[in-house]
Symmetry: C2
């Protein structure tokens, strides 16, 4: 990775200063590290998405942040949910979600887990392999299934691999097989990669959907849904287009390919709904230099890769950071508190920190509402998992 210098915080882009003051006050008496979840901001994001894509059914990707309070608020607003496991299924049912509002979106599932979900009333499943289609036919007979296309994920900050999805020729065969086995071939899904910054990626994928709709129609199978997946960005350091432009463009791509025969549209936002709503509050443990004439300071925080910030692997996700200290800016390497030498947040990307930064200063890490608490390790080096507090300011 190239070395690059990196601005760290811009109130205009990341948070209203007055709101930040209130969150700081809310956080003041709590032992770091923890994430403050701004529930209202998630509600606003959900409403905005509903307004910009009124024709789309929103399936929140529970894995992004499975906090009970977030899920209850979204249930109350009529949201649907994309679940990744029977464990998430149990949680959603416990919180009062209706099985009809759930989509079992993981293409990797045990036969007995499919049977369990079916027994609980789930009738919508994703798939991408013959083995899984056969398991679905046997354990969730007659259910709606959608078929996940392989995309290459280029342009995404947290890219996809080839782990999910299959090539269009394989998907074509799977659709016909599902119909033959008594399943309901409902539609096609894809995922352009999380934090996708190239909107054109949706264009390619939607065109492939059109091609698949037409191909299987010739065999008498009529698909009626496209699941656009996730990939809408949260507001990290690297600039993205705003969600409005994403919505406009995606709507245009759909119109170009489907005209007035628009299929049902599902979307599975995770990061874009909850990411911006999280402020991780951390504390400086130590500031040191490796040798007398070393250019950079090492700033060690009480949170690191294994305490919730695992998306800093390869410095993929660059969180905006605000340090509550004074002094002329200097560049620093940021690292976590464990004895693991992998536990470095940013070394190639130098973050600017205030020159007077010292032990005990609070460090606010923004856009940490997604893929943090649930990723946290159980007790690595003895450190407890990342806590979360709900802010209802």
């Amino acid at each position: 990775m190239e070395e690059e210098s990196c601005y760290t915080f811009d109130f205009d882009r990341h948070m209203d200063p007055e709101r930040f003051e209130r969150i700081k006050a809310f956080a003041a008496d709590k032992e770091t590290p923890f994430v403050v979840i701004d529930l209202e901001r998630i509600g606003d994001k959900y409403d905005e998405l509903r307004r910009l894509l009124p024709y789309a059914k929103v399936y929140y990707a529970v894995k992004a942040n499975p906090d009970d309070e977030i899920l209850k608020m979204l249930i109350a607003r009529g949201c649907h949910f994309d679940i990744a496991s029977v464990f998430e299924l149990d949680q959603m049912l416990r919180l009062g979600a209706r099985p009809d509002d759930l989509s079992y979106g993981n293409t990797i599932k045990k036969a007995r887990h499919i049977a369990y979900a079916y027994e609980k009333g789930v009738r919508l499943f994703s798939t991408d392999s013959e083995e899984d289609v056969r398991k679905l036919a046997a354990n969730a007979p007659g259910s709606k299934v959608f078929f996940r296309l392989l995309t290459d994920g280029s342009g995404a900050d947290w890219p996809l691999s080839r782990k999910f999805g299959a090539h269009p020729d394989t998907i074509y065969r799977l659709i016909l097989l599902a119909a033959e086995l008594g399943l309901d071939p409902y539609g096609v899904s894809f995922h352009v990669g999380s934090q996708q910054r190239d909107i054109g990626q949706w264009d390619n994928a939607i065109a492939t959907c059109r091609y698949l709709f037409d191909s299987v129609a010739q065999e008498g199978v009529h698909l009626r849904m496209i699941n656009l997946g996730g990939g809408f960005p949260a507001n990290y350091v690297s600039p993205t287009h705003d969600i409005e432009l994403y919505s406009q463009e995606i709507t245009r791509f759909l119109e170009e390919d489907f005209g007035d025969q628009a299929p049902e549209i599902l979307i599975e936002p995770g990061r874009s709904l909850v990411g911006d709503a999280g402020v991780l509050v951390s504390e400086v443990v130590l500031v040191s230099k490796k040798s007398e004439f070393n250019q950079y300071s090492w700033v060690y925080l009480d949170v690191g890769k294994f305490g919730g910030l695992i998306e800093t692997i390869d410095e993929a996700i660059k969180y905006p950071i605000f340090v509550d200290a004074g002094g002329a800016p200097k560049e620093a390497i940021l690292a976590g508190p464990t004895c693991d030498s992998m536990d470095i947040l940013y070394e190639d990307t130098k973050y600017e920190v205030p020159g007077d930064i010292t032990e005990g200063d609070r460090v606010y890490i923004f856009t940490t509402g997604a893929y943090t608490t649930s990723y946290s390790s159980v007790n690595f080096n003895g450190f407890p998992p990342l806590k979360a507090y709900i802010f209802r300011g």
Copy 2:
């Protein structure tokens, strides 16, 4: 990373077949995934190390596997412990360890955590920066401190970064500063990198210790201890020398540099004590191909990177794997069960699996006693943390 093919299992190297049968029987009725910890094997490894390095005080690195049963067994055998946090300190005291037998080995610590450890009776600390030395002087007055040298970690499968340690010139100044501030400059430590396969790395580090001992002696400070750190290997796929050769060579290096004025020797084994004692029992969730003519099968297990196998990042640690199935071997990509596309175990390194591998087959992942359970995520994708069972066969 280069693509390489990889043998997967060799009973001669990894486990006595009769013992494996007993572990399989013990595991048979338990819901996967989980790790079986073979307690006797850890005891044997500890005894072996005591026999091979009789002059060394063993400080087990608790972070490698903080299971209560392992710790209680080691306390009973008179082991000492290297702790990484006050949370590990609390655990050790709860289990009955004496504070005198603990070393606070993390150079990154909050002042109030130092004070807490001191209050609980800990009198041995590691350090590598001026800021930390000053905190120790203020919060743990008169304690023994040892100074961590920066090493480059080359030759290690799980390499070190520059996160820990300082250059010899900085260490020299820190030793004199510690003496001046009323601390007891006890010795020097280094860590050659976890799973270090180049024994010569210890030679370089010990020579630097000798140089430091002499330099500070000229200023009237007499160091009396070397902490050799960890780095002794566990038995993964890549072959290593056996622990006997490590011991012989290290003993020789010490004699060459220190003759009959040998200092006290501490070692901090983690991985080498507990790694081989773990067998992770997993189940195949799905076997699939991405397209009809694809060369490789994808084998999805019910455990992955976020369920305890995070050391497969960059395919750094290659675990030996045994699949309980028949058929001619074929090469496969191994992946975990979550919806995260990073959750792939081995893609560049192709593992051989039996041709008839199918859903429900048990997959035994060996040498998983270290850095697995405690690294596991809290509930990523809803999946619960990795369980552990103690086997007393």
